[in-house]
């Protein structure tokens, strides 16, 4: 079946270091969304990418959607302790109702 693979599963960084998480889909996606879940919280929508090759920025966060619309990345510049949490990508299948979540990348930031 359709899958969205996300790596790495965990990432430990020192505060101030950069962080990147990657998502790859086995099939072309119509869009990809990114969510953040703080420890003990619920997933919260960050952004949606729709166009091939799209790049969007939110302060220190940069989101990219691949040219083939099969992969995406989230890059955080100069991490802060408030960035701690699990980041999920979620790809929407073309022509369907389904949004498939990646396994998530759990980010730990050491002060």
């Amino acid at each position: 079946g359709q899958q969205v693979m996300q790596i790495p599963q965990y990432q430990h960084v020192q505060e101030g270091e950069d962080f990147t998480t990657y998502c790859n889909s086995s099939t072309t996606l119509s869009n990809i969304q990114w969510y953040k879940q703080r420890p003990g919280g619920h997933p919260v929508f960050l952004i949606q990418l729709v166009k091939s090759g799209e790049v969007k920025k939110q302060k220190r966060l940069t989101f990219q959607f691949g040219e083939a619309k099969k992969n995406s990345s989230l890059h955080i510049t100069a991490t802060q302790t408030t960035d701690v949490g699990t980041y999920f990508c979620a790809g929407r299948t073309t022509g369907g109702f389904k949004t498939i979540f990646g396994a998530g990348t759990r980010l730990f930031v050491k002060a």
Binding site: N31, H42, P43, V44, Q48, A90, K98, T99, R106
Partner: protein, 116 residues
């Protein structure tokens, strides 16, 4: 003014019991979901309803039965609870593209279920 609410927030129960979790959204969305998140944080979709109609039913044991009395509510009933059912269950809603929305999912706070 919580957008997506779930009750209860915590649920501790014995194996073999039957329990229900309720979800309500006040966003006017057409689509609602149930997800199960295990201890490894995997978010696994269980069910999705669009305008009270079941549209996604993943491989979930028959002990789990969703019910949508109206498009603002999606409840989850679980029969004969097992140890492996212990997890956090999230309800979510979205307004999909077919009805002019972006498909962004809004999650409830979660129900932490512990089966002893």
């Amino acid at each position: 003014d919580t957008a997506v609410s779930q009750t209860p927030k915590y649920l501790v129960t014995q194996m073999g019991n039957d329990k229900s979790i309720k979800c309500e959204q006040n966003l006017g969305h057409d689509t609602m979901y149930w997800y199960k998140q295990d201890s490894k944080k995997f978010l696994k979709i269980m069910f999705s309803y669009n305008n009270k109609e079941l549209i996604i039913n993943e491989t979930v044991p028959n002990r789990f039965s969703p019910k949508s009395p109206d498009k603002a509510h999606l409840n989850l009933h679980i029969n004969s609870l097992e140890l492996g059912d212990s997890a956090v269950y999230f309800c979510a809603s979205s307004q999909d593209w077919s009805s002019g929305g972006a498909g962004t999912q809004y999650f409830g706070p979660g129900t932490r279920l512990l089966v002893l």
